[in-house]
Amino acid sequence: MATPPDDGTRAEAGAGPDVTGGPDAPTGPAQSGRSGQSEQSAHPTSNTEYRIAHLGERLAGGDLAELGMRIESRGDSVHITGTASTAHDREAILRLAAEELPGIAVRADIALADVTAPDHPEDLS
């Protein structure tokens, strides 16, 4: 858990390397309070940017050990892209996203890994 970000993709919104301190850092209120976005200041995790970072932490830290998803804020929604090993993993990722981002539309574009053999080599001569 304390290792640096890996395959990177949760570093969107510039939050990756800074979120390793723990998902419950008291970040939300200070930020949203100062910025005067009163509608978002009610909950400690109301700030979408931090929620995205927390989702990244949960994906990495749980059973999935998933560090390969790109999670980005796009307008009012959150967009998740990447490749999952199995359909089961993809469902688990979407379930965690729904838990971590309640009330936010999540648009996912998660491909399944293609495990077929290649049909031709690349000639490097």
Partner: protein, 251 residues
């Protein structure tokens, strides 16, 4: 022509048992050896390593691997290595191995590698102990790669391949956010490859990156992270320099 199959970041766990085996069983028809570029497991447990071992056990081509950061997560890399070795996998860290393909000596030098960033945009061995340790770790592994490649040259290898998990170049990271490049690789790995020389550098780790790149010294680099190559493995055909092809060296 030496045909090198390679894949990294297969991230296998108990749920993915058997996923790659069907493709691996056809591999010998199009490749002479299989390289595994790290992140073979999810958390680096021996149980997950067993899944990997079963996936490649008994293949009719040599299987050569390096570990990735995921394979270190449980802090049992030696156990993971032992499980893989028990299935006949050659696991490299700062070492080389030679396989003979039709009388041609093919050398593979391997290290996990580590981050730090790329020339002009990299961390330095300066300041806090943690920062020094970070860069020192990369430097030590890059030195191991250099030594291993040098050893393969001295050993008369006609073809040499550098196998890492972290990337030696930024080219193959294109698609990843720029901000995290320093966590994805280090120029120290490329410097080692260029100084010692190699015919190909293969790595993984950057799932959103790009397959093709090249070091500033002109060594071709391939990111074989499974989400990048979108196949069970990629195959690269490497020409053999005639002057090195000595069938007699088999004796």
């Amino acid at each position: 022509m030496i045909r090198v199959a390679a894949v990294g970041d297969i991230h296998l766990g108990p749920d993915s048992r058997g996923l790659l085996r069907p493709a691996f069983e056809t591999l010998h028809r199009q490749a002479d050896l299989l390289l595994l570029a790290g992140d073979l497991t999810r958390h680096g447990t021996p149980e997950e390593a067993r899944v990997v071992a079963d996936e490649v056990a008994g293949l009719p081509v040599p299987v050569i691997a390096v570990l990735g950061n995921h394979d270190h997560h449980a802090e049992r890399p030696d156990d993971v290595t032992d499980v893989l070795r028990s299935a006949g996998v050659t696991v490299l860290e700062g070492e080389g191995t030679v396989v003979e393909v039709d009388g041609v000596r093919v050398g593979v030098a391997g290290t996990k590698g580590f981050g730090g960033g790329f020339a002009g945009r990299s961390g330095s061995e300066f300041g806090e102990p943690e920062m020094k340790a970070f860069v020192r770790h990369t430097r030590g592994l890059a030195d191991g790669l250099r030594g291993a490649l040098d050893g393969l040259a001295a050993d008369g290898c006609a073809v040499r391949i550098a196998l890492t998990h972290f990337s030696p170049v930024p080219d193959t990271l294109v698609g990843e956010p720029l901000e995290i490049y320093p966590f994805l690789g280090s120029y120290l790995l490329a410097e080692a490859v260029d100084e010692s020389g190699a015919d190909l550098a293969v790595h993984g780790h950057a799932h959103l990156g790009t397959e093709h790149g090249i070091t500033s010294g002109g060594v071709r680099v391939r990111n074989v992270a499974q989400p990048v190559i979108r196949r069970a493995f990629a195959v690269y055909g490497l020409p053999v320099d005639g002057s090195h092809t000595t069938a007699t060296s088999a004796a």
